[in-house]
Amino acid sequence: MKRFDPLLPIIGVVGLIVIWSFAVWGQVVDPVLLPSPTKTFWALWKGMNGGALGFDFLKTVQRTAISILIAAAIALPLGIVLGSSERLYRSVEFVIDFFRSTPASAMFPLFLVLFGVGDKTKISVAAFGAMLVILFNVAYGVMNARKTRLLAAKVMGASRLRVLTDVMLLESLPQTFIGLRNGVSLALVIIVVAEMFIGSTDGLGHRVFEAQQLFEMPDMYAAIFAAGALGYGFNLLFLLVERRFVHWSGK
């Protein structure tokens, strides 16, 4: 039976579709609110192949990718610097924790004032949120580097800089990837919300919102699934990269 184990995740998917089909067939829910799976997947297929959905999908990918790149470019070096001095980190810890706990959506009005209605605001709020998440994880990864390993490098005569690049950096990688995965999830949430409400003309958030306004339910569900697939895909991408480059993680 073991060799069928890789197929196990499919059971949940099939189960969901079966329940969904029965709900539609039995008219448990108003058919206008819940279209059939075939209609929905047809909308998804059409939308992604030359339809508006595909374009919106790429827009959201682009915004999320840019914001995570900006976040990482700031948070990785800063996290390493902060983490390599525990006292330095303690002195800014409260500020980081405070803003990390602040809902990023509360920052929209401020960023709107700063950057106006456009991509800049969406991307910078998402980058801001993701940056704090990554920063926190990188700093902790560096701070929690195994003491023995640092000592080992030190007795071998490694300079402080070398200890940082050869040991602390690598030690922090597993935690850094946790930060990147959480950061990209948060960035996607913020981008999609922003696309719904901050004067957008494109993006997955806009697509979901517009489909709902026009009562095109299959399109709305299709856009939701596309957003889900995107979130899942980003996570999977980081997991694969991590498994490739941080092969020792968890061992």
């Binding site: 023995t148 390993r149 000592l151 080992a152 007795v155 071998m156 490694a158 050869d166 020792w248």
Partner: protein, 267 residues
């Protein structure tokens, strides 16, 4: 340079050139005095086992000698030189946390040479020589987490040896290994010592192991640590399982146990 260093306390008549001289060493942790004006000489080319009650300061001693923790007072010199001027090796008890999991075993072994900016080709040549000298047959292309505990500790020891250290420190290097591995690793260490004659300081909590491997056993008292006794064990190498049942071995071990128990009771 120190002029005419005093012989080891409780010492022996045979004049030996001191390799490490420890003078007036003091160390306290939160007002608990661990060492108070401690003097000791470690002779060149000998293997010294350090044995004593739990928490008496064995690790503290070798960590201070190896510069891992600062001394409060006193001086430790290596042939009159400072620690920064010599090459030494240190083997941690916790090999899992001491090796670098992102490097293959062979790259772990060569890492100290990389720090010393030895060119790639020479690094390879030196590790190959070390592997041949020790007769190591395990696959060093693997990552540490793919190896058994004993293999990992062997890699740690090789990493300490690759620089051809003047002095080698080991803090309970085998205590995380199972018995079979421990026996195997003792033989490896004995072999290393015979091959290289490197001055070696071994902290061990296993009296049989301490005596079996040692030229001298340094018995420490409860802290503030003093030299409770400094026992010579001169049996020829290689020592084998048969050594363990020889009268001289049994006598030395019994004597050490005596001293140890006297010290434990004092506490």
């Amino acid at each position: 340079m120190l002029e005419t260093p005093a012989g080891p306390p409780g010492g022996t008549p045979a004049p030996e050139r001191a390799h490490v001289t420890i003078r007036g060493l003091s160390k306290r942790f939160n007002n608990v005095v661990i060492y108070d004006k401690f003097d000791f000489d470690i002779p060149r080319g000998t293997l010294i086992s350090v044995f004593g009650p739990n928490g008496c300061g064995k690790s503290t001693l070798i960590n201070m000698i190896a510069g891992l923790i600062p001394v409060d007072e006193g001086e430790i010199l290596f042939d009159g030189k400072k620690l920064s001027e010599i090459k030494f090796g240190y083997v941690f008890q916790n090999y899992r946390e001491a090796l670098f999991p992102w490097l293959r075993a062979i790259d772990n072994i060569e890492y100290p040479l990389k720090v010393m900016q030895v060119p790639n080709v020479e690094r390879r040549a030196r590790s190959e020589k070390l592997i041949a000298n020790l007769g190591v047959k395990i696959d060093l292309k693997r990552y540490p987490y793919e190896m058994s505990g004993g293999q990992q500790q062997l890699v740690s020891i090789m990493r300490a040896l690759i620089v051809e250290p003047e002095i080698l420190f080991l803090d309970e290097p085998f205590s995380a290994l199972d018995y079979e591995m421990t026996l195997f690793m003792r033989e490896q260490l004995q072999r290393v010592f015979q091959e290289t004659g490197t001055t070696t300081v071994l902290v061990s909590h296993d009296l049989e192991e301490a005596v079996y491997l040692a030229d001298r056993v340094l018995l420490l008292s409860r802290h503030p640590a003093l030299v409770a006794d400094y026992v010579r064990y001169d049996d020829a190498r290689p020592r084998t399982d048969a050594t363990l049942s020889e009268p001289e071995f049994i006598r030395v071990k019994a004597h050490c146990l005596d001293v140890f128990q006297r010290e434990v009771r004092k506490g």
